[in-house]
Symmetry: C2
Amino acid sequence: MSDSAGKEIDQLISLMAKLPGLGPRSARRAVLQLVKKRTVLLEPLARSLTEVAATVRECAICGNVGTSDTCGICADPKRDTNVICVVSDVADLWAMERSLAFKGRYHVLGGVLSALDGIGPEELQIPRLVTRVKKGGVPEVVLALSATIDGQTTAHYIADQLEGSGASVTSLAQGVPIGGELDYLDDGTITAALKARKTF
Amino acid sequence: MSDSAGKEIDQLISLMAKLPGLGPRSARRAVLQLVKKRTVLLEPLARSLTEVAATVRECAICGNVGTSDTCGICADPKRDTNVICVVSDVADLWAMERSLAFKGRYHVLGGVLSALDGIGPEELQIPRLVTRVKKGGVPEVVLALSATIDGQTTAHYIADQLEGSGASVTSLAQGVPIGGELDYLDDGTITAALKARKTF
């Protein structure tokens, strides 16, 4: 890529290029920026990555990432233990947290069921969810899964598995997104929003 | 950004967001990817950054980045010492190297003259270039500067400074880029290409 700069820098470029959102060209730009801003960016980033690599782990209860065995949410006594929100991965958990709308706890599945990719219930944290709900006598499980075919298949499967556990299973409402213009919405969303219409 | 994930991860996200090409949202995605691919991506990247932070330095001769006092190009006995290519920064040097068309040595200015940004000749490596050319009795200097106003001002200034040094000063040809369609070219490029027309 740039024989002239030495193999350490070439290796850094090829590693950076593996990050989502960066390709070979932007990785090169990023590395040049790092080298230019050595004390304010390169060294802090090197330290930060080393620290995270040494401390990061999965929460033993919900599967969130954190720096202790139990994540900040599961360890927080102010969070409602009566409701578990099921998400497919940590990015979705963070998105839910940013909304500040949910005060319960989470369960990260680690993906969604997918026959095509050979992902069955055993590959996901579904059995652990069922055990967690039954053992804890959790009254409500909110399914916050994507409105895709795989997401909805997973939702139905989980609802089936939780039958008889005593938990009421709910899912996020589907409809017109806030700020969404009807003109730009897909037919599926409009159909869903119409079916779920409410008195105004 | 994500209170739930611990301050080490938040800090990593905010550092990653400072890289060109990444914003807060894509930095979050990149960090999640890093955490997921701990052994194949996070740990190698942490090691690589630490190594580069410890070893990277500017070549004492040309200003290229490298991992020793003299960069790979200046240390290479096969490179032609009779021609120096002047570039504004290391990204441009790497671009020249990728073309495999230049076999001489480089001189990195560290920017271009800019009255607006208060960048004068002393802020750039122009005096060092002049000394290098005069001392070494270099017969040719190729100016590979951007075809912008600041780039061309810098080129003219350098040509002035090198007058009487015995070096012939050339610059990259301007014209229609390879694969470029006339229809999409700006007027300035067409004018330059027409002025510099050659017998076919």
